[in-house]
């Protein structure tokens, strides 16, 4: 529901800190076979207390990249107490639920099941074996944690996303915004608001689709 034209072209790079660049290179380059495509060696950058650092990039397909910062002399404890849940960027107390800790993750797309299983084979033969392989609604994914504790997913579509799923996603988000704008949002209130939006908009969508033919 936006009039803004869509000029973006996917992920340039996503970047994280690492305290173990050797394991990070082993995982992404030597286990998965993601080429190293760029690096920046920066000394004396920024304010006086900014550590010297290496910023290095791996190709994750389509020219998109995952990048890491390695800060010389940085104590891993700056990311939080060692042994806590989470990754090296964000650590969480023992009481923080696992679903919350795992919610932030990177998912990389592959074309088909063969490619997914090829990465499964590579990971299972490494120090970072696949922890889960799951068929969701329309995608199948493998998961592991990289050497830094980042949740890492590789996924393939089991079928293309249909136009009605895009409509459904927009109705969900509009219903969600309405419900979280009120006190005490619940899942039940979301489904009720969405039912109203389906009645208001879905039949019209069918007509619009029909006139396109």
């Amino acid at each position: 529901m936006t009039e803004l034209d869509h000029r973006v072209q996917g992920v340039d790079h996503v970047a994280f800190p690492t305290f173990d660049p050797a394991a990070t290179v082993r995982f992404y380059r030597d286990v998965l076979g993601f080429p190293v495509v760029h690096s920046i060696c920066a000394a004396g950058w920024g304010p006086e207390d900014h550590p010297d650092f290496i910023h290095f990039f791996f190709d994750i397909g389509n020219g998109d990249r995952i990048a890491f910062f390695y800060y010389f002399g940085a104590d891993p404890a700056i990311g939080g107490a060692p042994g806590e849940k989470g990754d090296v960027y964000a650590r969480f107390g023992a009481g923080v639920p696992e679903f919350f800790v795992r919610s932030r993750h990177l998912a990389i797309h592959v074309e088909n099941e063969d490619d997914l299983l090829e990465y499964r084979r590579r990971l299972d033969a490494s120090d970072w074996p696949v922890e889960m392989q799951i068929q969701h609604e329309t995608i199948e994914s493998i998961y592991t944690h990289d050497p830094n504790g980042y949740m890492f997913e590789i996924t393939r579509a089991m079928r293309p996303v249909t136009p009605q799923e895009d409509l459904d996603a927009n109705l969900t988000i509009d219903a969600l915004l309405d419900v979280v704008g009120e006190p005490e949002p619940t899942f039940g209130k979301l489904l009720a608001r969405k039912a109203e939006l389906i009645v208001e908009r879905a039949a019209e969508w069918e007509l619009a689709r029909g006139s396109d033919r």
């Binding site: 799951i134 068929q135 329309t138 249909t162 799923e165 459904d168 039940g188 039912a195 969508w205």
Partner: protein, 82 residues
């Protein structure tokens, strides 16, 4: 009156099919959604649908305000008049 909506995608079509086996239940369409309605409760057996769990637990698109979900577990989905 009890009404729920299920998006018509291949994974969800068994939901509508199983619901329609109950003579008290009507399955119609509104846009790309199945509109599943009845005067009383609507009960859909999960095993009869063959839906995987990820599909089963995310298949409900909407539930009318005069209806409410009273059961949605690995066995069945049950929607009743509120």
């Amino acid at each position: 009156m009890t009404t729920l909506y299920v998006l018509d995608v291949p994974e969800n079509t068994p939901m509508a099919k199983v619901a329609a086996e109950d003579p008290a239940v009507t399955v119609g369409r509104i846009g790309p959604y199945f509109e599943i309605s009845a005067a009383g409760p609507i009960v859909i057996d999960r095993r009869a649908t063959g839906c995987r769990h990820a599909v089963w637990y995310s298949a409900v698109g909407g539930v009318a305000r005069d209806s409410r979900i009273t059961q949605h577990d690995k066995n069945a989905l049950r929607v009743e008049p509120a």
